[in-house]
């Protein structure tokens, strides 16, 4: 899991500047004529999907804001994932090595295993609740702000305004 979070981090850092990308793309374009990817792109466009290219060229999110968004998203996701893994595999390890702990009686004729088992079920649901709560409260707002920033960038630019609007709600 640690490697994944590092990966997410590094990719943020190595994100290339928009200009460099554009130059690359225009150089690459003739070479990729007729490749399957090109075909796929055509296929997508045919089905009403458009705006990708223009978007990359002129419509960039604020880099710092966007990097922070991605970091926060994986920070929360990976923490919750790690928590779920730890709880489940912890439970499995107790079952494998210290089964007697779960056989201990608790009040009312029950064993500890029953509340622990139900507890894990409740926690699994609760963790999804935590994620939804966080995403609704924090992530969605940040996305809206970044996208609004991209929009205002479009309106000040001149040529590609039309494609941009199509792209946002495609």
């Amino acid at each position: 899991m640690a490697t994944i979070s590092e990966t997410a981090g590094t990719t943020d850092m190595t994100m290339e500047a928009p200009q460099t990308q554009m130059t690359h793309m225009s150089h690459m374009a003739p070479a990729r004529q007729g490749t399957p990817h090109q075909a796929h792109q055509a296929h997508q466009e045919q089905q009403g999907y458009q705006g990708h290219r223009g978007l990359r060229a002129h419509n960039h999110p604020d880099e710092a804001q966007f990097a922070a968004l991605v970091r926060a998203r994986w920070g929360v996701s990976l923490t919750l994932t790690a928590l779920m893994l730890a709880i489940y595999f912890g439970f499995i390890m107790v079952l494998a090595f210290r089964r007697d702990l779960l056989q201990a009686p608790v009040g009312g004729g029950m064993t500890l295993g029953i509340p622990v088992g139900f507890g894990i079920i409740v926690i699994a649901s609760a963790l999804t609740g935590v994620y939804v709560w966080w995403a609704n409260r924090s992530y969605d707002g940040a996305v809206r702000r970044i996208v609004a920033g991209m929009h205002s960038g479009v309106q000040s630019g001149q040529q590609t305004g039309q494609t941009m609007k199509g792209a946002h709600h495609g």
Binding site: T11, M15, L55, V70, I92, Q103, P105, A124, T128, V143
Partner: protein, 519 residues
Amino acid sequence: MASEFTSTIGQPNALSIGFFFLFVAFTLGVTWWAARRSRSAAEFYAAGRSVTGFQNGLALAGDYMSAASFLGIAGLVALKGYDGLIYSIGFLVGWPVMMFLIAEPLRNLGKYTFADVVAYRLRQRPIRVAAACGSLMTVAFYLIAQMVGSGSLVHLMFGLPYETAVLVVGAVMIAYVLFGGMLATTWVQIIKAVLLLGGASVMVFVVLRHFGFSPAELFRASAARYGDKVLAPGGLVSNPWDALSLGMALMFGTAGLPHILMRFYTVPDAKAARKSVFYATGLISYFYVLTFIIGFGAMTLVGQEVVAGFDKGGNMAALLLAEVTGGTMFLGFIAAVAFATILAVVAGLTLAGATTYAHDLYANVFRRGQSTEDDEVRMAKRATVALGVLAVALGIAFKGQNVAFMVGLAFAIAASANFPALLMSILWKRFSTFGAVCSIATGATLAVGLIVLSPTVWVDVLHSPWGMAAPFMLKNPALISLPAAFAAGWLGSVLRPEPDAEQRYAEQKIRNYLGVGAE
């Protein structure tokens, strides 16, 4: 009570047949309604992205609450007690993981299949072929297990011949998918989920009424009759490596099941996708709590001897309990719901398989992305019929075989072939086409190869050829095959980097995290 109890299970029961026909008639009506809304590709594969988060939560839960988990887990609890709960927990914990890692990127980046996401910035044809193999293998093993299970269950429940049961399931399921596409499949799943949760809730209510609405009283009564051992973990988890390996397959396999992943495309956006996993997890949790109580109810009110007498695996526990607590009428209702459950699950699997064929293989490989939408839908419909016929044929071919390992295998392939490639394509900028193909091929080959060499197949199915002990010790291969698939993906990407794909990663991220340009 148990000694004087004679069951009508296995005899044709007019009430259950009546309930079943009612269900089929109603759902075919829904299919007829859906047929007019299932013409375009987005409608056929993704219900026009018109399903709400809550509806999709119910449908996802429906896909997961198969007859195997309803009848099987209730039976496991009835015979083994606490160990059944361990099983349920394993199947549940994959859901939060899927939500945290996969759900939203999948919705934002893809269109109809998870291969859309892997192929987003990589070369289409190699990725589509590899991902389609992973998908189709997962679907095939899951489908065979469901078909064989359905034949035996229906035979046990209604006394209907095995082959007739498989044929009925195949025919009705083809009708749903062929005419109603994803919209009908989703609504069949929703109706069935509501019936199943409702029926199970009523059963739990009736059981608990016997014990003054105190679960503790129920557990005490069970322990008084069968000993304290039923309330504590027994022998299900004895080898930690086995447990770890199965745990990995269940945890990450859920996030690689094509028929589950496909459902995320039926909602309008990533926010709804997220919401639907929340509802699904809650509903599945509730369902597993119900099956636990139903299992103990059957143990105490029906008796382990009676349950085991009807079916060694305990599969009839929930039905016997229904009969004991609510008479023939309630038995008929629950049996019809169990039958409906089988239908709905195989419909979802068949649709996922047909979509993989038509969208990934036909449109993007054979026709290189040049086919029209109409062609694609026509192919998907042909594939539906072909898959349906194949499912019936395989269901009959595998009659009486031990197919229990196939669900574990489906999860192992999903966790090893589908999940690593999906996650790496989302998270790793330098992931290349060659890396993805290596990862999928390694995961699929190891999952299948190792399970054949494992005690699960080598001993239980092949009966130790040449008198050899199983060459691979673990019952589930995920502990080896999943890390190997990640390693192969890394190695392949390092050996054959793809600068072109790396450049497109920035654009993929914008669509992934902001939903800009999502379908």
